[in-house]
């Protein structure tokens, strides 16, 4: 691999020519001919731009991989960087300082931020919850779940329908929705988890679509595509409305002027607490035997089964835990929006949550939190590029898998040092 010094520009040019020609074939028809009813318009300049960019890009890439640096890089990617970063055995985590700081800042946000910022942060936290849930399933247990949005929908519709039909409010539905989603996960997972990994992806995808189609078509129960309203949370029975038919409202009880931001503040604080609870539970679970079993099963299923691990139960526990977290997120989403309809639970939503997990790093908690905020808050800020969002997610997923299959934040493990006096 050391013979490649000096760039062979002829090779680069040929590569660029081929790439440009292919781009012309691929993009020519679809980008160059804009359909408009049964008529059409030519858009040659768009094609020219794309072909030029592809050719120049290919030339640059081709030249780069002939330099010494490029060869080294290609070699590194050929051997993908799996595994975890190992810390020194006596490593002291800085998290002891960072976590209280983050909690303090997080608790301050609702009192200083504007209503708009608060709603964006709430959405970010909902996706953190979803990302954490899916991360247990995909990242830790290695089960690709493409129907995660189904559990999210169960949580959201659980709140709305539970309120409408049974009169259950936010607080009673929060645990019930988590249990409902977990039961749905168990019913779906039990027969499916015995079989091969790829099939699981498709079965869960089918499940997610079935949930959405039933929500759309069973109009007498779910109100179909028109959607259904969801109740707001209450604080010990006090409602966050301007006026209440039964009893006092929040602002009347505390003698405050009415402000519609109160309800978002309250949702934010509850959500913030739930996210930390989930983070804590997950952090502990990973260190427990069950968490170790998830990761071991992800790495080598045959070895685990040979050692007597009940693979169905281990996988099922991960699947149910992930599903219940998704259900929790659904309840928060419904109460935050106040209104839900089936169009919030399409496959794209599943793909977005998957993108969060992939970008954050499979199994890495910190990475998922960062990625969830990155992927939900950034599109809010860059509204003029909103239509490119899905394209970016797609490119992100492909590039991350090729470049860093374990995500931006690698899983870290504290090193192991033999005790003094132990036999070497």
């Amino acid at each position: 691999m050391s013979q490649a010094v000096g760039i062979n520009f002829k090779k680069s040019s040929i590569d660029a020519l081929i790439a440009g020609f292919l781009a012309l074939i691929l993009f020519g028809p679809i980008v160059g001919v804009l359909l408009d009813g049964y008529k059409f318009d030519f858009e040659f300049d768009r094609v020219a731009w794309i072909v030029a960019i592809v050719a120049v890009g290919r030339f640059a890439v081709s030249s780069f991989f002939q330099t010494e640096k490029g060869v080294a890089m290609a070699f590194r990617y050929a051997n993908n960087n799996e595994g975890a970063t190992v810390l020194a055995p006596n490593h002291k985590s800085k998290m002891v300082w960072i976590i209280p700081l983050v909690i303090a800042v997080g608790l301050l946000i609702p009192f200083v931020a504007s209503k708009y910022v608060l709603t964006v942060v709430i959405l970010g936290l909902i996706y953190v919850l979803l990302g954490l849930g899916l991360n247990i399933v995909v990242g830790l247990a290695g089960l690709l779940d493409l129907g995660f949005v189904g559990f999210y929908a169960i949580g959201a519709y659980g709140l709305a329908l539970g309120y409408e039909n049974l009169g259950l409010g936010f607080w009673s539905m929060l645990p019930i929705a988590a249990i409902l989603a977990a039961v749905a996960g168990a019913i779906l997972g039990f027969p499916v988890l015995r079989m091969h990994g790829d099939y699981l992806a498709i079965v869960t995808l089918g499940f997610g679509e079935i949930i959405r189609l039933v929500l759309t078509n069973w109009a007498s129960f779910t109100h179909g595509p028109n959607g259904i309203s969801a109740p707001l949370p209450t604080l010990f029975g006090l409602e966050f409305k301007r006026r209440s038919r039964d009893g006092e409202t929040f602002h009347e009880f505390f003698n405050l002027p009415y402000d519609s931001a109160y309800k978002y503040m309250f949702i934010y604080i509850v959500l913030f607490a739930v996210v930390w609870a989930v983070l804590f539970i997950k952090h502990r679970l990973v260190k427990m035997p069950i968490g170790r079993a998830w990761e071991a099963l992800r790495e080598d299923e045959i070895a685990c089964r040979s050692l007597g691990l009940n693979h169905v139960l281990v996988k099922l526990s991960a699947f149910m835990l992930g599903a219940s977290t998704g259900g929790l997120a659904g309840v928060f989403f419904a109460t935050y929006q106040g209104f839900i309809n089936p169009s919030s639970f399409t496959f794209f939503e599943s793909a977005l949550i998957l993108a969060i997990v992939v970008l954050g790093g499979m199994g890495s908690t910190l990475g998922v939190v960062i990625a969830a905020f990155f992927l939900t808050v950034l599109p809010e800020m860059l509204r003029e590029f909103a239509e490119y969002r899905v394209l970016m997610f797609g490119i992100l997923m492909v590039v991350m898998m090729i470049w860093k299959p374990r995500g931006i934040v690698r899983v870290t493990r504290t090193g192991f040092a033999p005790r003094k006096g132990a036999v070497k």
Binding site: P29, I30, D198, I302, F348, A351, Y388, G394, M397, I402
Partner: protein, 303 residues
């Protein structure tokens, strides 16, 4: 009675098209063991190319129906084949030695890219093609009648032709032997001097071409399409592939026919609102009860 017969006719044409798309899934799964999630979107791209090809051909003053349909078939199959090749080269080949999860996620990413790329360049609105072939054969059955449009006959004819040519290529030619050898044992085939990377590329191109055939036929028959059509039809074709036994070529065609027929009967006799739910439930049930499908071999995991 006439409803059942009519739905059988509809199901037969729908099923043959599902079979064409299912070939792409089954061949790719057979050769590298991955679910090509972007395959449905390759079909969607071919629907757009069909409309563009028809528009261009009529723009250049070609009026006769046979020339338009042959030209459209040729253009669409060629361009979509190029898509298949490039997708494999860009998104899957760098991941040849990675875990199955990575490849599947990359495929999902590719699917999102294709959908959004078409949406950005052609707009989110539904597009359409003019009806080129009209007329039908009618049989009276009892009180009612059964109608077979010429378009449906053409669909049956072309898809049978496509499947026949493919079967010949796989069974009788040198290329087919290379494909089958690679499918049975990739490492051994490469030791025996087969360029397996090239074979895998070829399989992707063949799959994309079959999807393009389906894209032309369905687009000409239904007339309307948008950037999202690939998703549902992709899952259904995958169901067909699994039903017939994934990895098995005759299985894909058989699975397509069974799925098309049962779905058409379900839609005609029970409820057309829930016909997609029916297909997805069928998929879940098959995977649970008989994951190896009708004609597939059960998969044995080796250390």
């Amino acid at each position: 009675m006439d409803i059942v017969l009519q739905q059988l006719v509809n199901g037969l044409t729908l099923g043959s098209v599902y079979g064409l798309i299912a070939i792409g899934y089954t061949m790719v799964y057979g050769i590298i063991g991955m679910i090509n999630f972007a395959h449905g979107d390759v079909y969607m791209v071919s629907a757009y190319i069909t409309a563009i090809a028809i528009a261009l051909l009529t723009f250049f003053g070609i009026e006769s129906f046979p020339i338009i349909i042959i030209g459209t078939l040729f253009l669409t199959v060629a361009v979509t084949g190029a898509y298949g090749w490039v997708i494999e080269r860009v998104a899957y080949r760098p991941l040849r030695n990675s875990s199955r999860l990575s490849v599947l996620i990359s495929a999902i990413g590719m699917s999102l890219i294709l959908q959004n790329y078409v949406q950005l360049s052609q707009g989110a609105n539904q597009q359409g093609v003019p009806t080129l072939l009209t007329g039908a054969i009618r049989f009276s059955v009892g009180d009612g009648f059964v109608q077979i449009t010429y378009m449906k006959l053409l669909i049956l004819l072309i898809s049978l032709l496509g499947m026949g040519v493919l079967t010949y290529v796989i069974q009788k030619t040198k290329l087919g032997r290379m494909c089958r050898a690679t499918q049975q044992d990739r490492k051994m085939a490469s030791i025996l001097g087969i360029d397996t990377d090239k074979v895998i590329s070829t399989v992707f191109v063949i799959g994309a071409m079959m999807a393009a055939l389906a894209g032309v036929l369905i687009t000409l028959d239904y007339g309307a399409f948008d950037f999202y059509v690939g998703f549902i039809i992709g899952i259904k074709a995958f169901t067909a592939a699994v039903l017939g036994g994934i990895g098995s070529l005759p299985g894909a065609m058989l699975g397509g026919l069974i799925l098309g027929l049962s779905e058409a009967l379900f839609a005609g006799l029970i409820s057309s609102d829930y016909k997609d739910v029916f297909s997805f439930s069928l998929l879940v049930l098959i995977l649970i009860i008989r994951p190896s499908g009708l004609l597939g071999k059960p998969e044995v995991e080796k250390v």
